[in-house]
């Protein structure tokens, strides 16, 4: 029902909004643990983020790269976040895609597992999502897992899970 004009208008809305979010993030960095920005200034819809593993977790010491892909109708719909290379975590799919309620569009939960307020709304943004991801790294939610094998490991054999994560962190850092 929307013509080409509208699609272009949407993209320009997304670009303008992302410009502002980028400016805000640079002016007020997130506790120095997260940096994020567009891969190139020509395409605001592709971002890269670097996240430091939170202290006191097996992810401590690691720096993880993730790709943020924004839809043309952002911020009406959420972006997707993919860790590249993938990260071992109960809420991250084996292909690296992050599964977190704040990144779910409000309409696609037929089981009503999450209440509407926990999911995406246009007033959310890169900053609030990345903060949620940080706390997700610290406290995995095995109730609605993405990587089932990893969930089982996390639940049944915490020591082995933490060992594997540390192993992965070391490999990533090239130690």
């Amino acid at each position: 029902m929307f013509g080409n004009n509208n699609a272009r208008a949407q993209t320009s809305t997304a670009t303008r909004r992302l410009m502002k979010e980028y400016r805000d993030l640079t002016a007020d960095p997130l506790q120095d643990t997260i940096t994020a920005g567009p891969v190139s200034e020509d395409n605001m819809l592709e971002w890269e983020a670097l996240i430091q593993g939170p202290e006191g977790t097996p992810y401590e010491g690691g720096v993880f790269a993730a790709k943020l892909t924004f839809p043309p109708d952002y911020p009406l719909n959420p972006f997707t976040m993919t860790f590249d290379p993938p990260l071992l975590h109960p809420n991250i799919y084996p292909n690296g895609v992050v599964c977190i309620s704040i990144l779910h569009p409000p309409g696609d939960d037929p089981l009503r597992y999450e209440s509407a307020s926990e999911r995406w709304s246009p007033v959310q943004g890169v900053r609030s999502v990345l903060l949620s991801v940080l706390s997700m790294l610290a406290e995995p939610n095995v109730e609605s897992g993405a990587d089932i094998e990893c969930c089982k490991l996390y639940r049944d054999n915490r020591t082995e899970f933490e060992r594997q994560v540390r192993e992965q962190v070391k490999t990533l850092l090239g130690i």
Binding site: R17, M19, P122, V123
Partner: protein, 525 residues
């Protein structure tokens, strides 16, 4: 007889309703006669309307149009508007929040009006009106937090909006957001403010103002749908393309173990008011038809079959179907040797090769008992299922049956009969289809019935109807010589009348039986 009277008391106490209903039925008939469908005749004509008298187990109902549904909502809203002295749109939102229960709403409102308004997502009357508040804020330029567009002091009034909760966004973002909610998520009464965790409800006037006409139409349709879904006395006609709503006040859920509230929509098709089933599932109760269809659809019977026809290797638990040979089994997988009869290890059988002499031992007897029971239950299920499926299939072929019948009616017209003289053929087909549907569900019923004298009567009624249907069906398919055409017409008309009669007898017996509590089921209803 006494319980019969009681049933009459319950179902005829509302005379006004009965009169209204008759009027409605009359007009429905007129309509269908003035609008014959493409094939030249209206769909299934035998119906409860055609029965000479309304039976005690029939329910009174009205078929409503969407307009009438809207009027019903408006009346409720006007009542609350007058009573609580609040604007109509506020009254509507409050009513929706209280699932159209106006007593509960009044109680809540009289106890604590402010809280009631807040709970429903409205601004309390004591807070400054949205208009005033916006004026005071216009001293600074504004940036929409969603699209990051800048608005000058002068533009804020015209191009941005807040619902009085302090969350301000530009009109474009509001439109996009509300459109998305309606178009993609099918939301209507529960569209909230975009502000984080803000529960303020978007008013219908605002929706109409912001979204394009087509979507606002969809929004109002969704509001109607929500109203119907919230009212226990309303139900949409489930047939595709039909927009009617059935209103019926006689069927609270607790009555559904005594009543099969089949109703006929103005679109000419049947539905069950109790469970929303798109068809006439009489004589069987809503709960049982659901159980039966689930049983037929899922693979519980596969498991039953496995149980009846296979045994597990006692060592590795592989499932084995014995398709010949002696009782000395050797499991292909684990090479374990055992006896098929007593399931014990073969080594204990000593020298009695190929013959188990341990047949009378307790463990063997138990194993065989379970096996036999399971086999009998599977056979019983299949008995009813084949008959059910057979009638289901025949009834589904009705479209084909109609076409062939129509061709034969045309052929008869070349043999000197007028169209009106051949209509009996079509009526016979209608009768057969209706009777087959009744028969179909009667088998689902029979499967769950406990065997007793009443069941015997039920089954002999079923047999009679079955025979009558097959006779008529046979008669319809034979091509008569032209000279005995009139005799054939006579025969078919008679047989049709007989089928109808048998069908009525079966339904009568079963449905009055529910009131009398005569039927005992193997499951709880």
């Amino acid at each position: 007889m006494s319980s019969d009277d009681e049933a009459n008391d319950i179902y005829y106490d509302d005379d006004d309703y009965g009169d209204d209903f008759d009027g409605q039925a009359g007009s429905a008939e007129d309509e269908s006669m003035s609008e014959p469908d493409a094939e030249g005749y209206d769909v299934l004509s035998p119906s409860i309307d055609d029965l000479p008298q309304k039976k005690p187990y029939d329910v009174t109902y009205k078929v409503r149009t969407v307009q009438e549904i809207m009027d019903m909502q408006n009346r409720e809203v006007q009542k609350i508007h007058a009573l609580l002295d609040i604007p109509t749109s506020t009254a509507a939102i409050l009513l929706r929040h209280h699932v159209w229960n106006s007593e509960k709403l009044q109680e809540a409102y009289f106890t604590d009006p402010e809280q009631t308004l807040l709970d429903a997502g409205l601004s309390p009357p004591s807070s400054p009106s949205p208009v005033k508040r916006t004026r005071s804020q216009h001293t600074v330029p504004f940036e929409c937090p969603i699209c990051c567009m800048d608005f000058t002091k002068e533009q804020v009034e015209d191009l941005t909006l807040t619902m009085g909760c302090g969350h301000r966004f530009c009109r474009t973002c509001w439109t996009e957001y509300i459109s998305g909610k309606i178009r993609d998520e099918g939301e209507s009464a529960r569209i909230q403010c975009m502000g984080e965790a803000c529960k303020r409800i978007v008013r219908p006037e605002l929706v109409d103002e912001l979204v394009p006409g087509e979507l606002s139409k969809k929004y109002h349709n969704l509001l109607n749908a929500a109203y119907v879904a919230d009212s226990p006395s309303l139900r949409w006609c489930p047939h595709p393309g039909c927009e009617h709503v059935i209103e019926c006040h006689q069927v609270p859920p607790r009555m559904l173990n005594q009543l099969v509230p089949t109703v006929k929509c103005d679109c000419g098709r049947f539905l069950c008011f109790g469970c929303g089933y798109a068809g006439n599932h009489r004589p069987v109760l809503c709960k049982i038809v659901k159980m039966w269809e689930k049983k037929c659809a899922d693979d519980s019977e596969t498991a039953n079959w496995l149980q009846a026809n296979t045994k597990e290797c006692t060592k590795c638990q592989s499932t084995i179907e014995k398709n010949g040979g002696c009782n000395h089994m050797t499991c292909k997988k684990c090479k374990w040797e055992f006896c098929w009869v007593c399931m014990g290890p073969w080594s204990e059988h000593g020298t009695s090769w190929y013959q188990c002499n341990r047949f009378d031992e307790k463990s063997g007897i138990d194993a065989r008992d379970t096996q036999a029971k399971s086999r009998a239950s599977l056979e019983r299920y299949l008995h009813y299922f084949t008959r059910y499926a057979n009638h289901d299939q025949s009834a589904k072929l009705d479209a084909v049956f109609y076409t062939t019948t129509e061709n034969r009616m045309k052929a008869m017209q070349t043999q000197g009969l007028s169209w009106i003289e051949t209509v009996f053929m079509r009526n016979a087909v209608d009768t057969i289809i209706a009777a087959r549907i009744t028969l179909k569900y009667s088998y689902a019923m029979a499967f769950y019935l406990v065997r007793n004298n009443d069941t015997e009567i039920f089954e002999s009624n079923q047999t009679d109807l079955e025979m009558a249907v097959e006779n008529l069906s046979h008669q319809l398919e034979t091509n008569p010589e032209p000279d005995i055409l009139m005799k054939m017409k006579q025969d078919i008309t008679n047989l049709s009348a007989y089928v109808k009669k048998r069908s009525d007898i079966l339904l009568d017996d079963v449905l009055t039986g529910y009131f009398e509590g005569r039927w005992k089921f193997t499951v709880t209803v």
